[in-house]
């Protein structure tokens, strides 16, 4: 029971103050976790040949021990920013939509930009949890929990914006088909209503998937708290002089949420079946959600919006921006949390950098194709939007686009910056990946701004042309949504299992029931998991 009554060194390791011992690579050339050129050699998913016990201790340690000194100050900053958003929204509700920079011509601007931005970010989490699950990409197990958490927090931020932009926010309950005194129903032929159903389904299914995945790990946290309670009569209290132990609260709360999970194989069987079905239905769901978001634009007749390329273009862009956000969150996290690099290895970084390169190029293709069709269709309104609303700078033509800088910022960030990932040096450098992810996140915000505002601000009649300028309320609300997102993520890092512990264990080589069979019976029963640290390098990789 060393993890229950740890000695000094173990206690420090568990508390994240010291690193666990480095055990090196199980096979030459596989140590740093980056991809190996020889396809017959798989690089390990968990580095340093961790035992099951070490995995449990490391991951549970993140919630059970005091977080690093950076955590609370950061939380206070992001929490305060989030609080400002509450004030901005309150001001908006009691005053009116005019507090935003919207006007008669540009009647959707930052509100819908932010909505599409956040909902897109969520898509990476579902891609990791569902599509990569169906594709049997085992590396996903190290990132799926945090990516799914990110999805849910992004959906929360996203859903706020349509909720507050409707004008009379207290009428929001008219969105779902609830019987009302007017005896009318919502318009089911409107893409905006499809969006209501798509977003609420997406948020609900993501939360269910996330929670179900967490049940076994919550049970692990429950059992550890329970073991400490039984092993000792004393322990840290929730507050001085209040005779309630922290572990008692943990055992109760995690125990409640774990629903009495007891790691039964009969349960695991149905659990895995349900998990696979959820992955199977989440895959078309995630593709449908951003398609339906794109219908908000594509089914209108506005030049710049009325294009059939929108659904796949939006989905690719969503995955692109989402992976950038996953990396923005995880690269600092793996530096700040001890031993996290054992799970999130360079291989994970490189895989995600490749996804960014692929989806970034798809987005670049879509930008090009939009332009091509605007010219090839011969539709002068469409051509005008792309030439004079977006691309040509004001200093090149007097009809030029006042928002040209937004368009070219988008091209630079989304199409050009990911191209550095063709070079392995950049794909395996966390600093380079972080920098590109930062640019991509900015670029994807600008993409939505360009699509929405530059299409609207100069539509058919020149007499109606106008500009959009954000107000302080616009800016505060957007920055506050980032604050809400980060606050929720920081709380998640502290209080919930950051990795899918059971899934991580299941992809470790010693998890296979045939791990020893390939080696005869030499090591049977004493070295698969134990404390000796002796492991077979590449057993059971099937």
């Amino acid at each position: 029971m060393s993890s229950i009554h740890p000695d000094q060194v173990t206690a420090q390791q568990l508390a994240g103050l010291a690193r666990l011992p480095d055990r090196g690579a199980p096979a030459p050339g596989t140590g740093d976790g980056s991809l190996i050129d020889d396809p017959s050699v798989r690089s390990p998913l968990v580095l340093n040949q961790r035992t099951f016990k070490e995995v449990t201790d490391i991951v549970c340690g993140y919630t059970e021990n005091k977080p690093g000194k950076w955590w609370l100050p950061t939380l206070m900053v992001t929490g305060s920013i989030a609080g400002l958003g509450g004030l901005a929204i309150l001001y908006l509700v009691i005053t009116g939509i005019g507090t935003w920079g919207l006007n008669n011509q540009v009647d959707w601007a930052w509100d819908i930009t932010n909505f599409v931005f956040w909902i897109g970010i969520g898509h990476a989490g579902t891609l990791i949890s569902a599509i990569l699950c169906l594709l049997k990409q085992k590396w996903r197990t190290a990132v799926n929990r945090s990516a799914e958490a990110m999805t849910i927090f992004a959906v929360i931020c996203a859903a706020t914006f349509p909720g507050i932009h409707i004008g009379r926010q207290w009428m929001a309950w008219f969105l779902p088909p609830i019987p009302n005194a007017n005896n009318i129903w919502p318009n089911f032929k409107s893409p905006l209503l499809w969006d209501v159903f798509a977003i609420s389904t997406y948020g609900t299914v993501s939360a269910l998937f996330w929670f179900m995945g967490m049940i076994p790990d919550l049970a692990t946290l429950r059992d550890r708290a329970d073991m400490r309670l039984r092993a000792s009569k004393t322990g840290p209290l929730i507050a001085p002089f209040i005779p309630i132990r922290v572990d008692a609260v943990r055992a109760y709360v995690y125990g409640f949420l774990a629903l009495g999970w007891r790691f039964s194989s009969r349960h695991w069987h149905r659990y895995e079946a349900a998990y696979l079905v959820l992955a199977g239905i989440s895959t078309p769901l995630v593709l449908s959600v951003h398609s339906i978001v794109s219908f908000d634009f594509a089914t209108s007749i506005l030049p710049g919006w009325h294009t059939t390329i929108f659904p796949p273009y939006f989905v690719a862009g969503a995955i692109f921006g989402g992976f950038a956000m996953v990396l923005l969150l995880l690269i600092p996290a793996r530096e700040l949390f001890p031993n996290m690099k054992d799970f999130i290895t360079l291989k994970h970084m490189e895989n995600m950098a490749k996804i960014i390169l692929v989806t970034g190029s798809m987005v670049g293709f879509a930008y090009t194709m939009e332009f091509f069709i605007a010219w090839y269709s011969g539709n002068e309104y469409e051509a005008h939007v792309f030439k004079f609303n977006r691309a040509i700078p004001t200093w090149m033509s007097e009809r030029g686009a006042p928002y040209w800088w937004a368009y070219w910022a988008m091209i630079f960030c989304n199409v050009l910056s990911p191209q550095v990932f063709w070079m392995k040096k950049f794909r395996t450098s966390p600093m380079a990946i972080f920098a590109v992810s930062f640019l991509v996140t900015i670029g994807m915000w600008f993409e939505r701004f360009v699509i929405i505002v530059t299409s609207l601000h100069r539509a058919f009649l020149p007499g109606e042309w106008g500009m959009f300028y954000p107000t302080l309320v616009d800016i505060t609300t957007f920055i506050a949504s980032c604050g809400v997102f980060l606050t929720l993520f920081l709380i998640f890092l502290k209080f919930l299992p950051v990795f899918a512990i059971a899934e991580l264990k299941a992809v470790m080589p010693q998890a296979s029931p045939h791990h020893h069979d390939g080696h005869g019976h030499d090591g049977h029963g004493h070295d698969g998991h134990g404390h000796s640290g002796e492991h077979h390098a590449k057993g059971g990789h099937h």
Partner: protein
Amino acid sequence: MSFGHTNKVYTTESGEVVYAMVAEFETPADVYHAAEKVRDAGYSKWDVHTPFPIHGMEDAMGVKRTILPMVIGVIGLTCAGLGFLMQWWMSGVDYPLMTQGKPFATWQAFVPITFELGILFSAFTAIIGMLFFNRLPQWYHPLLKKDRFLRVSDDRFMICIEAGDKNFDPDRTRALLEGAGGTHIDLVEE
């Protein structure tokens, strides 16, 4: 747990009713092979507790494939159909709404919401069905009172044979578990 069984009720030396006998194993391979032995000995009320799902354990235990995916499919499709009917009735019958010059009940426009509702209720069925068939939530369970059992959530592998099984016999069951390589064999009180 075991309704209407006619088995003998076993008690421990202190007079507590026995719920089950448990044995510990060190590795997935050990517990996998032990499970095959317990299955072949003809037990039915028993289980293997592992920190993560072990690949192929269903076969080693002789567990039948779950009907859960079928249930999800049936309920999901039913709810998608009901969702379509809801839209058709609301837009086409109860309050016919003419928009965009389209007919009142246009099935094409109802496809996205029909799809989303199908997914939504499939997801609810998946998780609620999983819990229902697993008889969860069950916050009290005799096994959870056992100190060593809690290590299953870390790195231990356990086989638990219930006293309610018709083949259960303290001596023979213990011998079977010992023969299969189990350690720390112990009785669990109800």
